[in-house]
């Protein structure tokens, strides 16, 4: 039954798909608005990085659980 762990890890890392879509949405809208009003550039960049870091957490939870499944047995 050892191989079931690896299948579980593989399925778990599919969450990266959703995460990537979410992060790309943030970037697209930030760049759109940077082009529209360039004087807001620095503020938008800070908020974009902050939002990306917040969205990234879901993927990091999955990575953490995967690492635990691989190494902690």
């Amino acid at each position: 039954m050892e191989y079931l762990y690896y299948i579980a890890i593989g399925i778990m890392m599919f969450s990266a798909c959703g995460n990537a879509i979410g992060e790309s949405n943030i970037c697209v809208h930030a760049i759109d608005n940077m082009g529209r009003n360039p004087e807001m550039y620095s503020k938008l960049r800070t908020t974009m990085i902050l939002g990306c870091a917040l969205v990234e957490t879901t993927a990091i939870y999955c990575l953490l659980v995967s690492i635990l499944l691989i190494f902690v047995k």
Binding site: Y5, I49, L50, A53, L54, T57, I60, Y61, L63, L64, I67, L69, F71, V72, K73
Partner: protein, 262 residues
Amino acid sequence: MFLLVFEKITVAERLSEIFTFKFVPQTFIALLIMLVILIFSIIIGVKVKKAKFTDKPRGLLLIGLLYYQAMEKFTLSIMSYKYRGFTKYMMVICPYLFICFTIGLTGLPSPVVYLATPLALALTTFGFVHGTAIRENKWGYFKRYVEPFPVFLPINLISMWAPTLALTFRLFGNAVSGYCIMNLVYYGLEGLSDVFFGSAFSGAIGIQSIWIAPLVTPFLHLYFDLFSGFIQTLVFSMLTLIFVAQEQSEEDENQVIEEVVS
């Protein structure tokens, strides 16, 4: 797998494990960082008390004042002017977290990889949030647990802990994933170096495996330690500010003007 681990240890043993003081290296490093920040704070505090307001600030005093101004600006961007005293906490927690993340560069073990450090930081935030709520609402604080109906009490009690858990695992997950990836890269590059230089340094033990890693890993350290540490510090401090600011009352415009005038 996890169930098997739990079966071996009884509940009483697990509880006693939490309360016994185990001295791991990470505890020592966390205390060391705290000591460094404390010494800097005391030196700057003594300098501020000695300084005359007619003189120009210079040296360490100037750095301290600029740092205070920057942190106050950061705090006031989220909180109202009435609660500017919260700057003191931000002035301690930001350098502490950033040094905790970047101390891995010196070769010492990073305290954030040890679950107790992020948990303690998140519990501090929890204490601030609920302390502020009790101070603002007095007995009305307990009303939030029976809203909208008293049936929701267990759900509200569970959801009370959700932000703390999220804060803990955000910090811990970032630190541990970076740490694991770095260790895997070091391990792989050691093997690669063995393949290339194994025959050249056959006499010396271990020396053949240190030649490739220093060329590749600095860029990864730049991302996983410095950039990730900075972003996570920013996220943690900003989330703390937002959670605490949610509980604070709205302020009067007149009161602010009075405070500024006086």
